[in-house]
């Protein structure tokens, strides 16, 4: 088994609205996967489908070779930290660990205790009294000590301040390395993911726009700046992701597998953030164009 998550034309709709459609991806094992996209792009839907909280309306998805959320064995293999990192406000930290120990056959008690101690949290404290960052850490501890093969996190740092964000992501990265864990986490901020992800999926407008290993993506995309030129006049193997023009100058973000030798262009490397934004932009630009065509 080499796939952590395999989706075939996966779709889910709420009422008449598709939250996710025609999602076909194949994520190999052993990556920290960032799922990025604007609010309402379908990130949570995809993650909930992956952990079995939601049933697909179309297509299918397998996670670690099994149907999500179907059996205790499948549940044991996949950890899920939901949005806003919910915990039981009335239970203490120690009771949360006990809950984890009771409900998970592969529970790693030593690791859980150690993490809580490292974080400087008092086991007798009620979870309702924790700060947002501490609560997120507790939820992460529950997810990690379950010893899953895949840990899914839905916007885990959305409500955290920058310091807590960094600590959380650091803890996550360390654990992923230590336990050879695959991680799938979502965020609407690329900067969160840039630091820790080596695989990225861009989701916009309910569809997957791009998915791949970060280094391959970075190597395959370029920003071209030079004298003004129409997109039609670019070589056929250069796929335009975004374009902007001034009177005399054109700037393109293109995807290509071949090196760019045209001396007219100044080729610059893109940051992951620029690239992701270009893909999100492309989607909205396509939509705008489609809308205009309909109006005509």
């Amino acid at each position: 088994m080499t796939s952590v998550l395999e989706a075939q034309a996966l779709g889910r709709k709420y009422g008449k609205r598709w939250a996710l459609r025609e999602c076909t991806i194949d994520i190999p094992v052993g990556h920290v996967v960032g799922l990025v996209g604007p609010n309402g792009a379908g990130k949570t839907t995809l993650l909930k489908l992956a952990c079995g909280q939601l049933e697909p309306s179309a297509g299918g998805v397998t996670v670690l070779g099994g149907r999500p959320g179907d059996t205790p064995a499948q549940l044991a293999k996949v950890g899920f930290v939901a949005q806003d990192t919910p915990v039981y406000a009335g239970l203490t930290i120690a009771e949360h660990l006990r809950l984890g120990a009771r409900l998970n056959p592969r529970w790693d008690e030593a690791m859980a205790r150690e993490r809580i101690a490292q974080l400087g949290l008092a086991p007798a404290q009620r979870a309702g009294k924790l700060s947002g960052g501490q609560r997120a850490q507790l939820a992460l501890t529950l997810g990690l000590a379950k010893r899953p093969e895949l840990l899914i996190l839905d916007e885990p740092v959305a409500s955290l301040d920058p310091l807590a964000r960094r600590e959380f992501l650091q803890g996550l990265t360390e654990a992923a390395v230590a336990h050879k864990l695959s991680v799938l986490l979502s965020s609407h901020l690329v900067s969160d993911l840039e630091r820790i992800c080596d695989y990225v999926i861009v989701l916009a407008d309910s569809r997957v726009q791009m998915a791949g290993k970060v280094d391959q993506i970075m190597a395959g995309h370029h920003r071209l700046t030079g004298p003004r030129r129409d997109p039609d006049r670019l070589p056929a193997d250069q796929h335009v992701i975004s374009a902007s023009h001034t009177e005399r100058q054109s700037t393109y973000v293109v995807r290509t597998d071949t090196p760019i030798h045209d001396p007219a262009w100044t080729v610059t490397q893109l940051s992951l953030e620029d690239l992701v934004l270009a893909y999100m932009d492309k989607r909205t630009a396509d939509n705008r164009r489609a809308a205009l065509e309909v109006q005509r």
Binding site: L54, L99, K146
Partner: protein
């Protein structure tokens, strides 16, 4: 999962247990006195045949605690549905913790099964203890109660025997199911209360009378089914016919009671006046100026004998007291079936729709 269920439930369980212990202690302390008072009273009234008077006096003395306890047993299942049933799942949905617990290594079905099972059994146990304790304590009062408050009477029946267990189980699962559908605690509680109250009213009004075919009967008039006579003038005699008692079947639940004339026709006019509570007034053409029913004669037994001699009768249908336990079992069975149905639905809904 059992540990988690208990951990989440222990607060309300402890509170309920404390209330029940206090109640049981109070009943255990006062019950024996009540029973010995009753035994002494019966011993005193049997020789001179004044037991009906003793019953009136005895029941009148204790009617307030009697009613209060009955009410407690009737309300308990509703409280269970409201405060244990409805929040069971809405609380998780509102806090988002369902996403935490449903992603541990147990299936949602198992999670619900343990929660429903444990809390449901606790609900049944609480209602059972409460109901049976009150049944035990009220025994002397049930034997001496006025017909409207006898064991078979709609209000009292539901607060005796094993029926409260059935109500509690049903109310609990109803609360859980409504909570799943509504997904918010307060509306779920309100809706649970409304639905449960409607069913608890519909049961004695529409269903319970027909659990077994009612017994029809025609009875002579007498002290047990007639609450006096009246002569308002104008020549006719008024009979205050009880609507909740038939002679010779103490404690029966009377479903219909009417006065028929010698030819068997129902008398439906009453000269527009009203009698004591739980009676209907019926006017019969018997002379009130002369004969046994003249004003001087009232309220003599002679007049009653005269009415009976003329052929006026009470025609009634009723469920006798002997059917108390069969009815308890049947009704509890009906609620058990409803409970199972709702439980099945909640599992189905959890798998299919709730996410």
């Amino acid at each position: 999962m059992i540990w988690l269920t208990w951990r989440q439930f222990r607060g309300s369980a402890t509170m309920m247990a404390a209330v029940l212990v206090v109640l049981a202690a109070a009943l255990a302390l006062t019950g024996p006195n009540l029973a010995s008072d009753y035994a002494a009273g019966i011993a005193g009234c049997t020789p001179d045949n004044t037991c009906l008077d003793f019953f009136d006096r005895f029941f009148g003395e204790y009617d307030i605690p009697f009613l209060a306890l009955t009410l407690v047993v009737l309300i308990l299942p509703a409280l269970v549905g409201l405060f244990w049933g409805a929040p069971l799942i809405t609380r998780e949905l509102e806090a988002g913790t369902h996403l935490l617990v449903w992603n541990q290594s147990i299936t949602r079905g198992r999670w619900l099964a343990v929660k429903l099972g444990l809390t449901g059994l606790a609900a049944m146990a609480a209602a059972g203890v409460c109901g049976l304790a009150v049944t035990w304590w009220s025994d002397p009062l049930d034997k001496s109660a006025v017909p409207e408050m006898a064991q078979m009477a709609p209000v009292v029946f539901g607060a005796r025997g094993i029926a409260p267990m059935g109500y509690a189980a049903f109310a609990f699962v109803l609360g859980v199911t409504v909570g799943m559908l509504v997904r918010r605690t307060l509306p779920a509680m309100a809706l649970t209360l409304a639905v449960f109250a409607a069913i608890q009213l519909a049961m004695p009004l529409l269903v319970r009378p027909h659990l077994m075919p009612p017994v029809p009967g025609t009875f002579e008039l007498g002290r047990e089914n007639m609450d006096g006579l009246g002569a308002p003038g104008g020549g006719s005699l008024q009979i205050f016919l009880r609507t909740s008692a038939v002679p010779g079947h103490a404690g029966a639940w009377v479903l219909s009671s009417k006065l028929v004339d010698p030819s068997g026709r129902t008398i439906s006019s009453g000269d527009g006046s009203s009698g004591p509570s739980s009676t209907i007034v019926r006017a019969v053409p018997v002379s009130t100026t002369s004969g046994p029913c003249s004003l001087q004669g009232l309220p003599a037994e002679g007049c009653t004998a005269e009415i009976n001699r003329l052929g006026y009768r009470q025609q009634a249908t009723y469920q006798p007291l002997e059917r108390f336990w069969p009815f308890q079992w049947i009704e509890t069975g009906i609620y058990a079936l409803l409970t199972l149905g709702l439980a099945w639905f909640s599992f189905w809904w959890l798998r299919r729709r709730l996410s």
